[in-house]
């Protein structure tokens, strides 16, 4: 079945130790998103790729970086995790961004990041 896969499902890192989260999709969608979601809050968009075009949200800290080496894979790099970065990280895809057309987002199961 076509899907969005995130690895690992749980990640523990130490304060300041770089960590990479991965996302892959078999949907062949053009757009991939990274969200941070903390308990009882809405997903917060960090950035998204439209094909290879990277779009950063204005309030995303420089500590968060992303790579999309090909259509199927996207990575979230947290260069120096702080205690405040502990959260669920959700990857999502959509076929496109056009109005009224194929911009439904499909979410992966998420990676829960713990920072010690």
């Amino acid at each position: 079945d076509a899907m969005v896969i995130q690895n690992p499902r749980y990640q523990v890192t130490q304060f300041g130790k770089p960590v990479t989260l991965s996302c892959s999709q078999t949907l062949n969608h053009n757009v991939m998103y990274w969200y941070q979601q903390k308990s009882s809050q809405a997903p917060k968009l960090l950035f998204h790729y439209y094909d290879k075009d990277f779009n950063n949200e204005a309030d995303t800290p420089d500590n968060f970086q992303s790579r999309r080496p090909n259509t199927s894979f996207c990575f979230l790099d947290i260069r120096s995790p702080g205690l405040g970065d502990a959260a669920m990280y959700l990857c999502a895809t959509s076929r496109d961004r056009l109005q009224g057309s194929y911009n439904e987002q499909f979410f992966g199961p998420g990676t829960r990041l713990t920072v010690l």
């Binding site: 009882s40 809050q41 809405a42 997903p43 917060k44 968009l45 439209y50 779009n55 959700l90 999502a92 961004r97 056009l98 109005q99 009224g100 911009n103 439904e104 987002q105 499909f106 979410f107 992966g108 199961p109 998420g110």
Partner: protein, 112 residues
């Protein structure tokens, strides 16, 4: 900047009662999507509304988009335990900048 207000934050209902959540934007927007997130799960797309005044139904769920495209609502008739979760609206703005603006979510809780 553009803001979306979603109310209420929580709604406790007896099974069989109705549930409604509302989203309001400070500006006119392109379209709106609704998502449901079960406890411990990830958001799942429910529907997208594009046209002014649009109303769509999915079984017991009714979605509305305001005439001015500044507000939307989701109404569930006769709630069931399977409806438990948090419902989010997502406003999408596609003019000069592509912007996604999520509501804070409304958590539906079924009273025991």
């Amino acid at each position: 900047g553009q803001q979306v207000m979603q109310i209420p934050q929580y709604q406790h209902v007896q099974e069989g009662e109705d549930f409604t959540t509302y989203c309001n934007s400070s500006t006119t927007l392109s379209n709106i999507q609704w998502y449901k997130q079960r406890p411990g799960g990830h958001p799942v797309f429910l529907i997208q509304l594009v046209k002014s005044g649009e109303v769509k139904k999915q079984k017991r769920l009714t979605f509305q988009f305001g005439e001015a495209k500044k507000n939307s609502s989701l109404h569930i008739t006769a709630t069931q335990t399977t409806d438990v979760g948090t419902y989010f609206c997502l406003f999408i703005e596609m003019d000069s900048n592509y912007q996604l603006i999520w509501g804070a979510g409304t958590k539906l809780i079924i009273k025991p």
